[in-house]
Each structure stands twice: as structure tokens, then as C-alpha cells.
């Protein structure tokens, strides 16, 4: 993967091609080994990103799946290749995710137009933009409400618990050279930074940015014909799951990020034959500090309702029981949307190989990568260290 950050001198094709070439070199393979390409990008979903990248890395005529699936775009690209291999149509494939956001700032929330003539429009017959009048449509606000709903239903969750999530991830990021920001902040600095949407302060929100990540996937059969070094470094995809949000009563006014994550986690644990207690590390979707906290519960990392105790106990810190977001997470590593669901698989893979340098979780054998996009889509991959 590329370091996440800002690359005004490059375009998203450059970033994606760099990540793809690095992944193939790392795997000791070339574009001629690839039977399929999965390409994920959200904001440039209409440009044929996969084909554009092929012009940089090799036009071999293989099928390209261009996918866009909110913040689960990268995981969806990965799963597309996974399914092609599983279906027997491909032996080896390449998946990438890329996004170039620059300094986009706040996502969602309509800019107000000066009134001219009111006329009802759209599915709700709105005569004016409703953001800020009928609640918030902004991402920091929507995820703040998701966290506050959890706080409403569960004891021991408040501003300090949310802030501690950000404290942890900023701390973790100082060990990750690929992170967009690598700076430690105190609890006072985090809680005292400008409030975006309470309880999310600026330092509890992920930045926008640029970046790309890519992975090579191979069938077990094809892997056995590869050099022993490649077999040793290969990790096993024990589960690849994609879910959407089932109906819940409040879903029409507040996107439900919980149920589809719970469903995906249950499917993934069953497919992999592991439980949350077996996980040596987790990369989960901390777009905001409030989001990470509720996903401790959704992924079963803590007792039901116990996410506040879980962060208070230190369990998700890198020296804790279940290290979460040792990369720095989206909050510090960054969140170029299409790249995120591939980059978290890169992170887990790097630990399972024992190649994560200063941030290595020693002896990591099983890891989980989770992303969720509003709308909603959830991708979970469980990876295991090679037995070879």
C-alpha cells in the first residue's frame, strides 16, 4: 500500500498502479499471472478505474470488476476477486482500492441555497435543504448519534470512553510509517480539540486523504505450485463476508451500522471456525471514535453492552487482550475511502507474516479486518497465518 496522505502531484491512477505493482512484486508474480482484477473507488466510480490502472500495469484482457460500495468499496473489490477464485473461474487475481480526496473536508450535509421560490421536491417533498433543520446529515454527526444511542442503552459509556479510543489510535499511529498522521495526543488535547459534532471532537474524526492498497489472491491449488517462500508468506482468507443493512425501525432516519456488522461477524466467525477470543488483532472501521466503541460490541470483542468497560480496561490497546487498530486506524492512518477495505487486510496480513516492524503484534496468528459504509454495506475478512 502507499502511505496514506496527500498527493497533489499524483492522480488516483498513479496511486493505484503503485500499490498494484508493489503487491505483485511482493508476491513474486506479474500481471501475466492474474486472471481477474477487482477495482474499488468511490468518488471516481464512473471512470473505469480498473481499466485505467491496467494501462499502467499491463493490459492483458482479463475481466475487470469496477466496484463502488460506500466505505466498504475496498472490501467489495477484494471479495469480487475472492469469489472469482472460489467459483473456479480464476486461479489468481489482483484487487485494489484507491481514493483521492484531497482536502474534501466535511462529508455530506447540504450547502444552503438562498431562498427563491419554495417548491416541494424529492422523495420527502422538501421545500428547502433540511440538513441542520431536521437534524444532521453530516458524517461526524451521524456517527456521534450512533455512539450516543449506544450510551443511552448501556451504562459506563460517555465522552471519556469515546476520547480514549482516539487517544489509543493516535498512540498506535506513532509506530506506523504508512499512517497519514503519526502524532500522539493527550486525553486533554483530544477532549479539548474543536468539537465537530459532540461527542466527536476534531481529534476523534478521521481525516480525508489520498492513498491506495492492493492485494494478490491465489487459490490453494495454484499456491502449491509456487515457491516455498511465497507459500510461507501467504496468509489464508478464512472468511470473506459482505452484508447489507436489514430493516430496523429507526433505519430510515439513522443509518444502522450495528445489525449488519453483527450479522457479518457471526457469518465470518462461523465460516472461519474461530471466535472473537481467538483474534490476535483487529482492524475495524473507526471513521469516528464513537464508531469504534460500538463495534467492540458488534464484533463480539466485549460482553454485550460492555464496550465502555472494554476501552477502560485497556483491552484494545496494542499490549491489551485484543489489540484494535494497531495501524492507527482510520482516525490516524487515514481513510481514503476506496482504499480502506484493502489497507486493513494489508495491515493484518503484514502482522501475520511477522513483517510489521516496530508495530508488530508478536506471534499474531489470526486477525480480522472490518469496514462499514453507510447505506449500508459491511465487509469482514478473517485472515490466518500460513501453516506452511
Amino acid at each position: 500500500m502507499t502511505r496514506f496522505g496527500r498527493y497533489p502531484e499524483l492522480d488516483s491512477v498513479d496511486l493505484a498502479a503503485t500499490a498494484c505493482m508493489d503487491a505483485m512484486v511482493d508476491g513474486g508474480v506479474t500481471i501475466h499471472d492474474m486472471d481477474v482484477l477487482g477495482a474499488g473507488t468511490l468518488f471516481q466510480a464512473g471512470v473505469g478505474m480498473g481499466q485505467r490502472v491496467q494501462k499502467q500495469i499491463g493490459q492483458t484482457g482479463i475481466p475487470v470488476f469496477n466496484v463502488a460500495n460506500a466505505c466498504a468499496t475496498g472490501a467489495t473489490a477484494l471479495r469480487t476477486v475472492y469469489l472469482s477464485i472460489k467459483a473456479g473461474e480464476a486461479q489468481m487475481g489482483l484487487a485494489f482500492g484507491v481514493e483521492q480526496m484531497g482536502k474534501m473536508g466535511l462529508l455530506r450535509g447540504g450547502e444552503k441555497d438562498e431562498a427563491t421560490i419554495f417548491e416541494p421536491a424529492g422523495r420527502y417533498g422538501a421545500v428547502a435543504p433540511v440538513d441542520g433543520i431536521l437534524g444532521t446529515e453530516t458524517m461526524p454527526g451521524v456517527f456521534a448519534q450512533a455512539g450516543m444511542e449506544y450510551a443511552y442503552n448501556n451504562a459506563g459509556v460517555g465522552f471519556k470512553q469515546f476520547a480514549r479510543v482516539a487517544y489509543k489510535n493516535h498512540l498506535h499511529s506513532t509506530l506506523n510509517p504508512l499512517a497519514q498522521y503519526q502524532k500522539q495526543f493527550s486525553m486533554d488535547e483530544i477532549m479539548g480539540s474543536p468539537v465537530q459534532s459532540y461527542p466527536n471532537t476534531l481529534l476523534m474524526c478521521c481525516p480525508t486523504g489520498d492513498g491506495a492498497a492492493a492485494v494478490v489472491m491465489v487459490s490453494g491449488e495454484r499456491l502449491r505450485s509456487m515457491p516455498s517462500e511465497a507459500q510461507k508468506r501467504a496468509v489464508k482468507i478464512s472468511a470473506s463476508v459482505l452484508t447489507s443493512d436489514p430493516w430496523v425501525e429507526s433505519g430510515q432516519v439513522q443509518p444502522d451500522v450495528n445489525t449488519l456488522t453483527r450479522n457479518a461477524a457471526a457469518q465470518a466467525y462461523e465460516a472461519a471456525g474461530v471466535g472473537p477470543e481467538d483474534l490476535d488483532l483487529v482492524e475495524l472501521h473507526d471513521c469516528f471514535a464513537t464508531a469504534e466503541l460500538i463495534h467492540y460490541d458488534n464484533l463480539g470483542l466485549c460482553e454485550r453492552g460492555g464496550a465502555g468497560d472494554f476501552i477502560d480496561s485497556g483491552a484494545p490497546f496494542r499490549d491489551g487482550r485484543t489489540p484494535v487498530n494497531v495501524s492507527g486506524g482510520l482516525i490516524s492512518k487515514g481513510h481514503p475511502i476506496g482504499a480502506t477495505g484493502v489497507a486493513n487486510v494489508y495491515e493484518v496480513t503484514t502482522h501475520l507474516r511477522g513483517e510489521a516492524g516496530d508495530r508488530q503484534i508478536e506471534g499474531a496468528k489470526v486477525g480480522l479486518a472490518h469496514v462499514i459504509g453507510l447505506g449500508s454495506a459491511c465487509g469482514i475478512h478473517i485472515l490466518e497465518k500460513s501453516a506452511a
Binding site: 431562498a115 427563491t116 419554495f118 420527502y124 431536521l134 437534524g135 468539537v195
Partner: protein, 141 residues
Amino acid sequence: MSNESAREASGASNCLPIVDYLKLGEDPHLVANQCVDCGARYFDRRNACAKCGKAEFVQTRVANDAVLKAFSVVHRAAPGVPVPYVSAIVETGDGTSVRANVLGLTDPMAAKLGMDLRFSVYNCGSDDNGTECVAFGYAVV
């Protein structure tokens, strides 16, 4: 806002609700399209019920009393959106979730999860013809 100005807002002759599921008049309230089969409610039109798949709906009044289930004090918004404000997910007395602002708090941080709220309407601007836009929110009881 006061009940008096709420009445003025809803009673004005040339005013429009900000969304079509807000009904004005003497007794302002929200309406939802309710699935005849399973009772799920929707503020927009649906081809079929997202919960059960049946395709018959009836328009139903939503209760005006509510409790605060989740909120965020929004300090950063798109240009032109006044901040801070309290965005909320409320649950009405008949179990319908609604997204709206909490009204009438001089200190936004005084919002408390679980607090009782009451449906309220107010003028939120007018267009070049002088037509007023009426919005709704939930006021602290």
C-alpha cells in the same frame, strides 16, 4: 419556541411544510405510510415494505410526544447552516423514530439522553413570494 408562535407558524395562510410528511393546521403533526401487514412506518413512498415485502400502506398519524434516544451537538456544518444545534433521534410515544432538532435549549449541552420532548413547529424562512417555510422539531417539556 412558544405555543403561540407555533400556532402562528402553522396557521399562516401562505406557508408550506418543509417536508410533505409534516401536516400543518390547527394540530400540527407528522404522518407516515404504514404497512397494513406489519405496521412498519415510512416517511417516504415505498414500492413495498422494507420489513415484510407487502405492498399496501395506509397514511397514519405519528404521536407528538417523544423521548430523546440519541443526539449530537453539531458545531461544524456546511456553509449557511447555523451552529451549534442539537441534532436528535427521538422515539415518539407510538414507537416511531424521527430525526429532528431539539428546540428551546439555551445551552445545547443541557440535552440529556432519555429526556421528554414534545413536537413543535416554527417558521424557518420565507421565499421571494413571501411564502413561509414551516419546520418541526422537538421541544423540551
